[in-house]
């Protein structure tokens, strides 16, 4: 039987469909008998739904390095 900590990590892995067959089976067994992990699993699934639904933009690595360069080339005004 896996521990709650192990189950929780597998549960997060499952959100990306990257848990192995055996891991998935162990998780399901655990969720059958552990109420707090079952509730965690529901919240985790809900977080996945929220992330899918959210409009999240990220700056590319290049855009970030350009910003950093810009910050380095404009030194703060000394008093």
């Amino acid at each position: 039987m896996i521990s709650c900590d192990e189950a929780a990590v597998i549960c997060s892995k499952t959100q990306y469909r990257e848990a192995g067959l055996w891991e998935g089976l162990q998780l399901r067994m655990h969720l059958l008998i552990c109420k707090s992990c079952a509730s965690f699993s529901r919240n985790n699934k809900q977080l996945s739904n929220l992330c899918d639904q959210a409009v999240i933009k990220t700056l590319t690595t290049e855009e970030k390095s350009r910003l950093k360069e810009r910050l380095q080339s404009s030194p703060s005004k000394d008093a």
Binding site: A8, V9, C11, S12, K13, Q15, Y16, E18, N43, N44, L47, L50, C51, Q53, A54, V55, I56, K57, T58, L59, E63, K64, L67, K68, R70, L71, S74, P75, S76, K77, D78, A79
Partner: protein
């Protein structure tokens, strides 16, 4: 004297990694245009750097940057309002199919506009998620962001961050746990 003991000391080098995505999403949700948001973001960082000497240290760095960002967003609307007064709207070009389109049509039919394709709530949700991410340990946030938002493969992230897959999953998991808690207090309470 060593100033490292001060918790409120500013760290401009880390601003971009830590706050850029949050501030960027915040700006997008307010101005509805990615390029304008990028300009505002850059202005914000530059202004913050120039004002860093006057940073009182009585606010968290993040709160302080958001306050500057809000000012820059207001500045943007002030500028565009004063331009609006001068703008000419050529009424006769309503049926002009010359390719350029008239300014009004361009505004209405912009397919890139965030506000048109997605509800405002979903971009607010994005801001809430980025807000939470900016408050958790940075390596966890990065791992989560690459996996969940940018949809990198596990292999690529492990290479990029130089960690093992099991390390990655623990980091992603910690980020998710922290996010659930953070969103619970910040997002669900307001909705």
């Amino acid at each position: 004297m060593d100033s490292e003991g001060r918790q409120t000391i500013l760290n401009p080098e880390a601003w971009v990694d830590r706050y850029a995505d949050y501030l960027y999403n915040y700006a997008i949700s307010r101005v509805g245009d990615e390029n304008i948001a990028k300009d505002i973001l850059q202005d914000t960082f530059v202004a913050a750097l120039q004002a860093s000497k006057s940073f009182k240290g009585n606010a968290a760095e993040r709160t302080w940057l958001v306050a500057i960002l809000k000012h820059k967003i207001i500045d943007h609307y002030r500028r565009s309002n004063s331009q609006k007064a001068k703008a000419e709207v050529p009424l006769s070009s309503e049926f002009d199919f010359s390719g350029e389109g008239n300014p009004l049509q361009r505004q209405i039919a912009d397919p890139e506009s965030i506000r048109e394709n997605d509800s405002i709530e979903n971009s607010e949700l994005g801001v809430a998620i980025q807000n939470c991410l900016s408050q958790i340990p940075q390596n966890h946030a990065r791992a989560f962001s690459l996996k969940t938002i940018e949809h990198w493969t596990t292999e690529d992230i492990c290479k990029e961050l130089n960690i093992s897959p099991s390390n990655l999953w623990v980091m992603v998991h910690r980020a998710r746990t922290a996010l659930m808690e953070c969103l619970n207090t910040q997002w669900f309470k307001n909705n």
